[in-house]
């Protein structure tokens, strides 16, 4: 490592900082989401909520359908993240966890609320309401993602990182345990 670099003047330091921050802002500004990104994620979440609600409330639901919603979500999420990486040449942890996996507060709350409301509708045999709640949950999830994206574009350094791998592993383990229970209990 070279140590011969002369100390910068305050003007040089200010210029270097401004340039570096402008480069970061430019990079974040050039990133684009794949086409139909929010629509795909929102639809996958809506299907997942609906199939989960039907599974919880109706014994007649066939096992593959119970898992189908989760499988579809995992497939759509993986495809969207690969498309994003191919389109931009970057990987963005914040997008994967906050937007796709829904760890952003708004996404988590709207998902839990929509799932609870869908299950309630299912127990009351109001199937149309299950669909309405699932669609609303998917839309709220997608809107939460859009909100995160705007925040990221405004301050990329603060929002680029996702949850830690350990936390994602815990969430994944809880989700898998829930799925296993869903299949075994029925």
């Amino acid at each position: 490592m070279e140590n011969s670099e002369p100390s910068p003047t305050p003007e040089d330091a200010a210029a270097a900082l401004v340039e570096a921050e402008a480069s970061r802002t430019h990079l974040a500004g050039t990133l684009a989401l794949p086409s139909f990104f929010y629509a795909a994620i929102g639809a996958a979440v809506a299907v997942q909520i609906a199939t989960a609600a039907f599974s919880i409330t109706d014994d007649r639901v066939w096992a593959p359908i119970r898992l189908g919603g989760v499988a579809l979500f995992v497939l759509v999420a993986a495809i969207q993240l690969v498309r994003f990486r191919q389109l931009n040449g970057v990987r963005l942890g914040g997008l994967a966890s906050r937007v796709v996996l829904g760890t952003a507060t708004a996404a988590s709350i709207s998902y839990a609320f929509a799932l609870g409301a869908s299950a309630w509708a299912g127990f009351n045999r109001r199937w149309w309401l299950v669909i309405v709640c699932a669609v609303a949950g998917g839309a709220a999830y997608a809107l939460s993602g859009r909100r995160w994206w705007r925040r990221y574009q405004g301050d990329p350094a603060s929002h680029s990182r996702g949850e830690s791998a350990g936390w994602i592993a815990i969430l994944g383990a809880v989700a898998i345990a829930g799925l296993v229970l869903l299949v075994l209990e029925r």
């Binding site: 070279e2 910068p8 200010a14 900082l17 340039e19 570096a20 040449g89 990329p156 680029s160």
Partner: protein, 95 residues
């Protein structure tokens, strides 16, 4: 100047590391195009930053081509924060 990190003092390296704070990992050509430098210049800067463990690189595939993915390490993130703080002190000293 105390606090300034000689490994990041070159403007291109400061830009490179600052850009990496916006993503988890970036492909070599994405960084090269954003920095508007040649392959060899970027390779030199990346190698220097890898040698002090400020960034890490791994081989991968992008759009069917073999490529290099580059990311900031925890050590690099801390070094960048300290360097930026030192630059801000330097600037504030004359204001």
């Amino acid at each position: 100047m105390t606090g300034l990190d000689p490994g990041i003092q070159a403007p291109a390296r400061l830009k490179l590391m600052t850009m990496l704070t916006a993503v988890s990992e970036a492909e070599f050509s994405t960084l090269r195009d954003s920095l508007n430098v040649s392959d060899s210049v970027l390779s030199k800067h990346v190698a220097a930053l890898v040698s002090v463990a400020y960034v890490k690189s791994r081989k991968g595939v992008h759009l069917g081509h073999r490529t290099t993915w580059i990311s900031l390490t925890t050590k690099g993130r801390k070094a960048l924060s300290a360097h930026v703080a030192a630059l801000r002190e330097l600037i504030a000293g004359v204001e």
